[in-house]
Symmetry: D2
Amino acid sequence: MKNYSFKNDYSEGCHPNILDALVRTNLDQQNGYGYDDYSEEARKLIHQKINNPDADIHFVSGGTQANLLVISSILRPHESVISAETGHIFTNETGAIEATGHKVHGVPTNDGKLKPEHVQAVLDIHTNKPHQVKQKLVYISNSTEVGTIYSRAELQELSAFCKDNGLYLFLDGARLGQALTSEMNDLTLEDIANFTDVFYLGGTKNGALLGEAIVIMNDRLKEEFGFHIKQKGAMLAKGRLLGIQFLELMKNDLYMDLARHSNIQAMKIKAALKQKGSKFLSETFTNQIFPILDQHQIKKLEEHFDFYVWKKIDEDRSAIRLITSWATSDEVVDRFIKEVQSL
Amino acid sequence: MKNYSFKNDYSEGCHPNILDALVRTNLDQQNGYGYDDYSEEARKLIHQKINNPDADIHFVSGGTQANLLVISSILRPHESVISAETGHIFTNETGAIEATGHKVHGVPTNDGKLKPEHVQAVLDIHTNKPHQVKQKLVYISNSTEVGTIYSRAELQELSAFCKDNGLYLFLDGARLGQALTSEMNDLTLEDIANFTDVFYLGGTKNGALLGEAIVIMNDRLKEEFGFHIKQKGAMLAKGRLLGIQFLELMKNDLYMDLARHSNIQAMKIKAALKQKGSKFLSETFTNQIFPILDQHQIKKLEEHFDFYVWKKIDEDRSAIRLITSWATSDEVVDRFIKEVQSL
Amino acid sequence: MKNYSFKNDYSEGCHPNILDALVRTNLDQQNGYGYDDYSEEARKLIHQKINNPDADIHFVSGGTQANLLVISSILRPHESVISAETGHIFTNETGAIEATGHKVHGVPTNDGKLKPEHVQAVLDIHTNKPHQVKQKLVYISNSTEVGTIYSRAELQELSAFCKDNGLYLFLDGARLGQALTSEMNDLTLEDIANFTDVFYLGGTKNGALLGEAIVIMNDRLKEEFGFHIKQKGAMLAKGRLLGIQFLELMKNDLYMDLARHSNIQAMKIKAALKQKGSKFLSETFTNQIFPILDQHQIKKLEEHFDFYVWKKIDEDRSAIRLITSWATSDEVVDRFIKEVQSL
Amino acid sequence: MKNYSFKNDYSEGCHPNILDALVRTNLDQQNGYGYDDYSEEARKLIHQKINNPDADIHFVSGGTQANLLVISSILRPHESVISAETGHIFTNETGAIEATGHKVHGVPTNDGKLKPEHVQAVLDIHTNKPHQVKQKLVYISNSTEVGTIYSRAELQELSAFCKDNGLYLFLDGARLGQALTSEMNDLTLEDIANFTDVFYLGGTKNGALLGEAIVIMNDRLKEEFGFHIKQKGAMLAKGRLLGIQFLELMKNDLYMDLARHSNIQAMKIKAALKQKGSKFLSETFTNQIFPILDQHQIKKLEEHFDFYVWKKIDEDRSAIRLITSWATSDEVVDRFIKEVQSL
């Protein structure tokens, strides 16, 4: 029997509602390229949830694709984007943004979150015009790549700072559901829309087979976006595949329910580890946790579960990364907790 | 009741075997990024069909993506690609290839097919080195964008010409199934592999939800291709979605069966139109036909069927484009033929 | 003794006035990057000549550099440029424009000149949005690469067409002096400025060591151009070198005098050839002529002069290309004419 | 009377020998694009000085141009370059390298010099293939942007490290003369050639009007470099302008003499400041010095001299930057020293 894997939140297929919808709609003929009825309905539901019918919404296949599309469509050739050093675009996309011609400034942070002072520090060392690249865009992720989330106050402050400095704010929401359903969260999806110029809702890491929903709030960024989607190879002929999935996820708050479930499963494991005395690399309240264990404990857990050993702490101890998903069952969590208790 | 649409071959979802497999495998945990078991099995089946276990096989989402990925991974910055003017990369991809930095030379042809003399003509006017771009790649489609196919002799000759001139040959197989199951075809999939440096098998237009299988034959083009997939935003976290589909399509020759079906449906309609005295814009033997009809006939057919009016011929007549697919039923074809007979 | 070369108009150094100025100003300390006094004065003289003090003027090293800079600064990623097939950017710049990400549409013409109908023809086959690239810029050269020139009516008409169709008009003036001093010309430099959004005055082919003066008329294209110059490696630390040269060329109409001289020398040779009965590949009135000679005549002339054999006409005859320059002396022209007369 | 400027080493024109040569050769007809006799002779002299007749040598206009040309010609799309954070390509070229599609990793250093451990640290955090960009090139400057130089041992060690790790080593020699004639230097030009895959000799900052000589040592990097020069707009029609200058600079070691002169002038000023008790931001032995002065002293010096206030040290003191050049006369240095002594 295979070990259960906590390596990531995209090990399984998709939520059954999506499969049902695919089966149900399969032979219905639809327009291609995102002009199908399902995509239209999904857009309407998102419009309702952000309380803004004017946002432009485009469905694409994945996060790197969404990031490079949005950023390259916004920036002129001499403009750059600011990211945390842990930001997906800075370190985990094989130079995808630079491949479209733009510098990414990586900023060291404690917790994966950009604050106005981080951005200001980049601006401060780029005043020698036109010999230095011009900053025009701030990229953040919520939840971040290290599992942390922005508070309402933090996002509001960063948003205001960007406006004051002529910078656009782009939020990577590959795990936005997890952020907004975290027990520590005080942001709504409507807030996310209001505080950013453009953001996306991640489907791949929250129960879809694939797909991210790019939501463009700022009118200036809406113009002719479809050309960019096509040019970057991101326009699916059968756009219905994305529309159907987001339609199902948006119905009855399934999207948030799945994310909340993944958070809860992680928090149960976290509680068990804490009870056992474990420390953590960082305190997170979403579906990623980074407990510090000794080699013996790690070996023991590896007998029945797969996960990444994330960072060596000292000779004896390492932090591991555990990620739960919409599909992580109570039974698996209970088994893992039992193993923890027996360590 | 909606009209039946002959507008394209991607109006429906996917073949039921694929949906069954998605349901069956849904909760099986798998590695991401194309390292899942299904992708591995699908690769093995393709290896068998091309009779070459050394080819590198990568699954990506769509045709434009496959084209820009392959071409940009091969060419150095000063190199260019030669295509028919009807070639998808020349005219229908929003400048996707140029966006990666490379010129596409468009060559006028009668039938959408490149011959050695077409390529030679481009080479002949680019001898002023280094003031002119250097040609390094020849791009063809089979079946072509206008529904025609290459004969074995034609492909062999073009392949030899490319080798003699230090050019790579890349075959866009968005509709390769239709080409290889055309009644006029004398090529095998193994031939395709042997005569090209790289090609792909299209899934989107032949019964998959999405997906193209890039097959790299030339060892020099294999190196580090995965980096390019990731950088261009083409690497799906749940690569299983592509693997499962190609696994189903490759089993028991389903891929060829679906393509053959789409060809047969088109040929039945063609025969009916011929019997009725229709001329055609070009003589095709795949799933695209271009009959020339008068305005009255077109209006009549439009009452029950959707299709594109493709090209004005004279005051009274236009060519229309009819595309059939794996999902075009006998019942629909019969209905259409009845309409034709009553014109 | 070396043969005199009619191969091009950049075989010699520069006009002596420029050398004198370089010597005279050599140890005067100046700001770098185009902020020197000479560049400022040169800009003022150009402002006077185009009768518009608001134009932005930037000096760069060469024509390909000017072309790629201007075009890439204007276009968004999904936009393209239309050029004659003989246009320098289409065929003689090693894919420089495509290397910045943009498609160049090459249009066949009789005489190297774009007319509204040529542009309209490109627009007509690019209506399938967003699947096709969007045309945004029209590129022309005056004089053209084949020695022809635009009349005032032609340029005005093209300019109006571009405005009506939301297209920018960019004029490559590598040989603008020759165009404006041609005996057939009815355009002024002020007209050029008024009819285009951006153009440049070529120095390299008209008596400078190097340098082109980019003149931006359209306010929307002026913004932050300096960043592009720097990013593309086109910003000279000692911008004075360009400023000094254009200052000398603009003083007392030296620029036009040099161009007129080159035209006159070519016309004298043309007259002698006509008298001798020669035909020409095309009728030109600038410093490039394309007489058709037989092999014996060509051999004879090659004994004392260098030039390109441009195009084979038939078994016995070829067109040659003769280019005169600011430095082509009366003595050389007389010698050449004597040779012609003795053929 | 204008203040004398110590702001940079490109405030004046060029060494008189160059002007003499330009005048002397002005009307001699030459081939374009770097195929002139002067460029050929200059190449021969460089071949002699590096003791290697097989190096490929190309002359281009400036440093940013040389950097973007070399780097973009070497790297495949998924490859990146490592630089010190102070490196010109990382911070002072308006994103020129990223504009060609490649990530630049900026590494913090104490003194502007890259050591193997700096490079190793970048490699260590980029092991997740193919999700992270692949490092392929190391970029260093000598002298560095902060005036420091590499010792023979340091360069040898870095060179060996690069070879061991499959990395190319590229040396930006915008101020290579100053490095090699520093009193602390133990490297020869031949060493530079042997320890790098490609480097360039800067002319612009050492007595030329413009120009850098790119020297390609590694055979694999030589192929078809001319195409890249043309494509990036860096090929001068009158390549003679660059050839003549490097010919003059290479004759009789003028290049090294000019650089040594600039160093000596800086060292005289440094000695005077030291005697006066000044501290320095960093200890340099080339033509850039960074003395720390109080506001009163800075004000006083600014009455007669121009320079940049480089970095605030505390409420009262700032480091200033003084740069001397081939053209900084003894008289000016004496005047400055007198001012220093009177502070």
